[in-house]
């Protein structure tokens, strides 16, 4: 990676060029890049599995891969995307890089724990790679019992060990962020002067810390049950398979908020910067983030309306699920209001952020469909659900990831990228995404169940559309890889603040020096002090 000599202190990149200097670093910015490289690897692994799935589904027959292979493909796609890409995606990279910068700290509270988190992540990832080499796992990412504990003939224990381990990476990252935000803020950086990005990560960290241990223990019980043939989940052993589902979703529903809250943080920063206006209803946004994190813990049962859970439990979970949608709706309204009478620019990060809002709305509103009990009875476990959560996780979280990537790329690398290409990439990704996943809503309504290797021929048209869209989406993902790589070598120097943004991270050179700031910053006013229509700082 090329570096630019920062004014005075050397940048965090030029602090050392040896592999050893990277693998033993305690600098949160370097650890963020270590994560960046690792999650890119796992993203490509999971994307390759997705490509195989879409290729297989071009025809109703199982002609590309056999049934067991297909089952392993969607399992590895889910496991890797969820735990090795989406959950760490924004927090471990941009969160890690930016939180100390944004609050005016030199580093996170526990730098060594931060590095340890990355090693734990890598170890967990290693288990998944070994699982793949050994022949894969075919349980679906949800690991439902008793299939997982008794009937699967694949490498379940290796896979759940990998996920168990990576869970601790997430716990320690969350812990680190919480303590950092509480203890490491610069003088004058009061709670209500924190950028929304930081608030979003604070809420995310609470979920990480409180939900992940539940998953870890549950997976440990799965492994023991499979190993010893005794346990609390298999009805043949006197256990209860619904208990597993409750425990699994107690983690895995909040996990969706681990993915989407940081995305909301990113979009809040980008929208306000490119509207050149303070974000509308800042405190309201903060309370919404916290409300989502809190209520998100009480809605897990909406995954189980037809599972055999009691009807009245279903009703309570349904009502709570409607309630958790309200703070999400508030955020969309506030972003929209932020544009009002602003001075809106359409740079690449903004295009990605606007794309996020559109896709997140689609995913969110179809979440309302699924929260509605009688509708869910028909739609659950069909492609409607697949489309819904891809709109949230891929349309939402991944679009936001790319928005963040384009917004802070100049800060991270010190270089600019070709803006025209970047805008084209945003549009291709948005179009490709919709082509891929919108047909799946229809297929789901028509009754196509998920995780089907072969399917009735009447669904073929929709599946071909979806697979065609996936090609466009794939191009959308490859484009940034190419021009960002180019930018690393040839891009123009960015300067400290290419967007004329207000956050503390823009007050230090790009790339920032090892301890972030030449002198400890002091915060005097609220965040987002933009002047609409004023100079844009370029």
């Amino acid at each position: 990676m090329t570096t630019i000599a920062a004014e005075g202190a050397p940048s965090y990149i030029s602090a050392g060029y040896t592999l050893r200097s990277w693998l033993t670093t305690r600098d949160h910015k370097r650890i963020a890049l270590l994560y960046g490289v690792s999650i890119l690897f796992f993203f490509l692994v999971a994307a390759a599995a997705a490509a195989m799935i879409r290729l297989e589904l071009l025809t109703p027959a199982g002609d590309l891969v056999d049934d067991d292979t297909y089952n392993k493909l969607f399992t590895v796609h889910g496991v890797v995307m969820v735990w090795f890409f989406l959950i760490p995606s924004i927090p471990s990279t941009f969160g890690n890089f930016l939180i100390p910068l944004m609050i005016g700290a030199k580093d996170v509270a526990f730098p060594r724990l931060n590095l340890a988190s990355w090693y734990i992540y890598t170890l967990g990832g290693l288990f998944v790679v070994v699982t793949l080499i050994a022949g894969g796992v075919d349980t679906g990412w949800t690991f439902y019992t008793p299939y997982t504990t008794m009937f699967s003939n694949s490498h379940v224990i290796l896979a759940v060990t990998g996920v168990f381990i990576v869970g601790f990476s997430s716990i320690f990252t969350g812990l680190n962020f919480i303590v950092t935000v509480h203890q490491m803020r610069a003088p004058g950086m009061t709670w209500f002067r924190l950028p929304l990005f930081v608030w979003a990560h604070y809420a995310t960290s609470l979920v990480m810390v409180l939900a992940t241990p539940v998953l870890a223990m549950t997976l440990a019980l799965i492994a023991i049950e499979r190993l010893l043939g005794v346990g609390i989940f298999d009805p043949a052993l006197g256990g209860d398979p619904l208990l597993f589902q409750h425990l699994f979703w107690f983690y895995s529903h909040p996990a969706v908020y681990i993915m989407i809250l940081p995305a909301m943080g990113v979009v809040s920063e980008v929208i306000t910067c490119f509207s050149r206006k303070p974000v509308f209803g800042y405190q309201f946004m903060v309370y919404s983030l916290l409300a989502i994190a809190a209520v998100g813990f009480m809605v897990w049962g909406h995954h189980m309306f037809v599972s055999g859970q009691s009807m009245y439990a279903g009703m309570v979970f349904s009502l709570l699920s409607f309630l958790v949608a309200i703070p999400s709706a508030i955020k969309v309204f506030n972003w929209t209001a932020t544009l009002y009478k602003g001075s809106v620019r359409f740079d690449a990060p903004m295009l990605y952020a606007l794309g996020f809002i559109g896709l997140f709305m689609m995913g969110g509103i179809t979440g309302i469909w699924l929260a509605a009990l009688a509708a869910d009875v028909h739609l659950t476990d069909t492609y409607f659900v697949v489309a819904h959560f891809h709109y949230i996780m891929v349309g939402g979280a991944v679009m936001a990831f790319f928005s963040a990537l384009h917004f802070w790329w100049p800060k991270v690398t010190g270089r600019l990228y070709p803006d025209g290409w970047a805008r084209a990439g945003a549009i291709v990704m948005f179009v490709g995404f919709n082509l891929t996943f919108f047909p799946q809503y229809i297929a789901g309504y028509l009754g196509m169940p998920r995780r089907y290797h072969v399917y009735p021929p009447e669904f073929q048209v929709l599946n071909v559309l979806s697979s065609g869209g996936a090609v466009v989406l794939g191009v959308g993902y490859l484009l940034p890889l190419l021009y960002l790589w180019w930018s690393l070598r040839r891009g123009r120097l960015a300067g400290a603040n290419p967007w004329g943004a207000t956050g503390l991270e823009w007050q230090t050179p790009s790339p920032p020096p090892t301890y972030n700031f030449a002198s400890a910053p002091r915060v005097e006013g609220p965040p987002y002090a933009y002047q609409a229509g004023g100079t844009d700082g370029r």
Binding site: L373, V377, D381
Partner: protein
Amino acid sequence: MSHFERFIAEASSAAGQTDALLLALTVVSVLVVGGISLTIAVFAVRWHAGSKAPRGPVPDRSRVAEGLWIGIPLLVFLGIFIWAAVLFHQLRTPPPGALAIDVVAKQWMWKIQHPDGQREINELHIPVNRPIELVMTSQDVIHSFFVPAFRIKQDVLPGRYTTLSFTPIRTGRYQLFCAEFCGTNHSEMRGTVIVMSPSAFSDWLAANPGEGSLADQGAALFREYGCSGCHGASSTVHAPKLNGLYGHPVMLANGTQVTADARYIRDSILLPASQVAAGYTPIMPSFKGQVSEEDILKLVAYIRSLSVAENQP
């Protein structure tokens, strides 16, 4: 409600109601997504950087807006919630006089047992306009009984019974899917539900005689497994008598009360020590691993028939 018919049949009494709800959700979604997208587009274009549109000072927050943004979604959501919950309640309440049919799922097939003893695999023949109640269990992993044309779905679990009730309103052949991932051939665990006119259905029943009704087969098993030795009318062993038991409350030794339904009888056969009736000693051995799910369903049918006979004068 036939708006959706061209896409997918509405073949149960619930289908039209579910579709009405889905149509309403579609309308709300189009309004919300379309409205907000349009607003964003208008704002972004009108106030793009460099435009001459007036700007002036705008407030950073507005309590009125905040109130509306909580209040309006809340009302809409509550409305949808209540509508959907009422429909769900209807779906879950079996209509009186339903025809009870047993379903046993296994990797990767659906096994059906009719009350009169007809058995079929991956096909379910039912009469039109008659409420049906499926009593379902699984021999191995979790499956899910899903008929898109009926807009119904219910997971089928090992170790317990789940029920699914519906009333088919249109004759024809409809697809049955397994909707919960269940292993290698999950996607081929499909079947057909054949809804027939009442006369055609009686013809079908007559043309496919089983090995006697489920209750009769259950009675034979009742002797075969030695149940009658203790529970029979002439037995001297102090065991609960089963006449008139089904559907009635039972006092348990631990002071709680349960209704003697299919699940209670199943548990009593497999885990007799867990729910001992008051006044009896737990001397019954467990039949776990000795009786197949199909046989248990037959025993349940027999015990149920004892109760029906009792109620008839």
